[in-house]
């Protein structure tokens, strides 16, 4: 099978999810879709775009987390241990949109949003642009 490249654009990881106070919500939880390449595929040059809507009374930041798996999601990294990616500083009543680039090829990526506010829910969504190589051999 010939090697090919597939363009990925506006691909949804999370459409619109709430994160409870002082917790993390992952794409691998209900409602999201992790980036999980097929058997003969691998992602390359992916840029996540995350939207975070803060409550009017929020004082805690949003924290973007990413975690990998070497076996297509059977075993994911331990939450909040080396999964930190980026801080989205709180702006009450405002939606903040930021991008985060994954500058290497990967097979599996789970995306999480941590709400550091102790009282108010935040709402987030995530999509990405990038590409994946297809038609790879396997062993």
């Amino acid at each position: 099978m010939a090697i090919g490249i597939t363009k990925l654009d506006a691909t949804v990881v999370e459409a619109a999810e709430s994160v409870a106070a002082s917790s993390i919500e992952w794409a691998s939880d209900t409602g999201g879709t992790v980036l999980n390449a097929g058997t003969t595929e691998i992602y390359t040059g992916v840029t996540l775009q995350v939207s975070v809507a803060f409550h009017a009374d929020a004082v805690g930041d949003g924290i973007l987390h990413v975690r990998h798996s070497a076996d297509s999601g059977t075993t994911e990294d331990t939450e909040d241990v080396s999964t930190y990616a980026k801080t989205i500083a709180v702006v009450p009543s405002t939606t903040i949109i930021v991008s985060y680039h994954i500058p290497y090829m990967f097979d599996y990526l789970d995306v999480g949003m941590e709400n550091e506010d102790a009282a108010e829910v935040l709402t987030w969504s995530c999509k990405y642009v990038g590409s994946k190589l297809t038609g790879l051999a396997t062993v």
Binding site: T39, T78, D107, T138
Partner: protein
């Protein structure tokens, strides 16, 4: 021979190994499998996923080490001299799973786990996902 690319997923480096107190255990020691590309191959953007289980009374961290070789393993870097990769903070009685990216291309990689605890054994395992280019010419 045409250049190709092979997907690597859930490839085992260490299945389940113990590390004695204040010691380093390498994949190149008994029981492990180093990443050693074939004559016409080279690894590309590998993500190691390491699992460490700490004794219930452990107080010392675990240290992930990596070392390379310019001659496919005949001569490896000296252990603990510029081989540090990542600290996995002790979490007594728990298993912690972390990923570590090895960016770019490489021919050989040996993976080691250091146990900084002065008394207790730790258990570790390691697998990886990534890819390798195949069908390279040689000189």
């Amino acid at each position: 021979m045409a250049i190709g690319m092979t997907k690597l997923d859930a490839t085992v480096v260490e299945a389940a190994e113990e590390v004695a107190a204040e010691a380093i255990e390498w994949a190149s020691d008994t029981g492990g499998t180093v990443l050693d590309a074939g004559t016409t191959e080279i690894f590309n953007d590998v993500i190691l996923q390491v699992s460490v289980t700490f004794h219930a009374s452990a107080t010392g961290d675990a240290i992930l080490h990596l070392r390379t070789s310019a001659d496919s393993g005949t001569t490896e870097d000296t252990a603990d001299v510029e081989t540090y990769a990542k600290t996995i903070a002790v979490s007594a009685g728990n298993t912690v799973i972390v990923s570590h990216l090895v960016p770019g291309q490489f021919d050989y990689l040996d993976v080691g786990m250091e146990n900084e605890d002065g008394t207790y054994v730790l258990d570790w395992s390691c697998k990886y996902s990534g890819s390798k280019m195949t069908g390279l010419a040689t000189v």
